[in-house]
């Protein structure tokens, strides 16, 4: 198998892993954690900590 094909397979596997992580994270409630942080003024971010 030439190197181009191998790197394409690895790239696709990495993408599937990344997308799988997004879906898993979403269904396990991480997006809600992100949401609840992002919809409240972040005192640390703005320097009122």
């Amino acid at each position: 198998m030439n190197q181009k094909i191998v790197s394409r397979i690895i790239w696709t596997a990495a993408l599937l892993l990344a997308l799988g992580m997004v879906v898993f994270g979403y269904v396990s409630g991480e997006a809600e954690t992100v949401f609840s942080k992002a919809v409240n003024i972040c005192m640390e971010c703005i320097g009122l900590g």
């Binding site: 994270g25 942080k37 919809v39 972040c42 703005i46 320097g47």
Partner: protein
């Protein structure tokens, strides 16, 4: 990509992206200023963009990463890391050159006509590693390990470093809301000092925050060699004149390391190449039409 219009196109895309992702106009109305609280805040934007910016429609990926690490169960942040990996696999640091508001702000500051500062190569090399330290220590390790006596964690990078939060969130919110002003204290002064240094440095050094401090740029840099969008050198056309390396404000020599972790895919080097040896590629396929580019060059030279 047309050489003559490449920079203009990039600026237009940077500005449009900045406006589009910070389009919550209500947030900027004095007195009633509040941040956007709609469903888009479930999702991260690819570049640095504070989610406490009054106009922000999405979440900042670095803030989001720390928020998940800080949560009570100290979960592995699958959602945010998966998102960043996806963007990295497609674009790498193309995001920095085209889709980051703070990158754009630094570029605009650098356009102020003053003598520019050249950091000695050895110092520059050491400083460039600081962004990886920021990612590993301030974004990941400290938020993961530290808990105060009440069990609460801190987003260390956001709280003690991030000038983006101060510029996009802190200053506008404090200006627009009287109620926040009594809360100003030493942390705000400290963060404003960091922001001031970044702003002043940006006038004399090209994108100092991106080169030396940005943890998001550090993360995307890890994907630079495998991302779909790449820079490619036609070795048979390259005459080793060094024009591209002299042009690159990120101090990359694209003729030798086209996929350097420091390249933000701005495309400036393409314009300087006298033989059109440099090309952007996407999944190995060239982007743009070589014949058109040659014609543009001839027109510019008045041929």
């Amino acid at each position: 990509m047309d050489k003559k219009h490449g920079s203009k196109l990039r600026k237009i895309i940077q500005i449009c992206w900045g406006v589009l992702t910070n389009a919550y106009v209500k947030g900027f109305i004095a007195g009633s200023s509040t941040i956007y609280t709609g469903p888009l805040k479930h999702f991260c934007v690819p570049g640095m963009n504070c989610y406490s910016c009054p106009g922000a429609l999405g979440a900042c990926p670095i803030g989001a990463l720390q928020a998940v690490l800080n949560s009570r169960h100290r979960k592995f942040p699958f959602y945010v890391i998966g998102f960043l990996m996806t963007i990295g696999l497609f674009l790498g640091r193309f995001v920095c050159g085209w889709l980051c508001v703070f990158g754009l702000i630094q570029e605009l500051l650098y356009m102020i006509p003053t003598p520019k500062l050249k950091i000695p190569e050895r110092v520059d090399k050491v400083l460039r590693n600081m962004k990886y330290v920021m990612l590993l220590v301030m974004v990941i390790a400290l938020p993961l390990l530290y808990r105060n006596e009440y069990g609460a964690a801190k987003p260390f990078f956001c709280e003690f470093v991030c000038p983006v939060g101060t510029l996009e969130g802190g200053i506008p919110l404090v200006l627009l809301n009287d109620q926040l002003r009594p809360a100003l204290g030493s942390l705000f002064i400290f963060k404003t000092a960091i922001l001031t240094v970044c702003i002043l440095a940006s006038i004399f050094i090209y994108r100092p925050f991106c080169k030396y401090l940005c943890p998001l740029g550090a993360f995307y840099a890890l994907f630079q060699k495998v991302s779909l969008v790449k820079l490619d050198v036609d070795k048979s056309a390259c005459v080793n004149c060094g024009a591209c390396a002299r042009k690159c404000a990120m101090n990359v020599d694209p003729s030798k390391t086209p996929n350097s972790t420091e390249c933000i895919r701005c495309g400036e080097c393409l314009k300087s190449c006298p033989t059109n040896a440099l090309r952007f590629t996407c999944a190995g396929k060239k982007i743009g039409n070589k014949t058109n580019i040659g014609e543009t060059k001839n027109e510019e030279e008045g041929n």
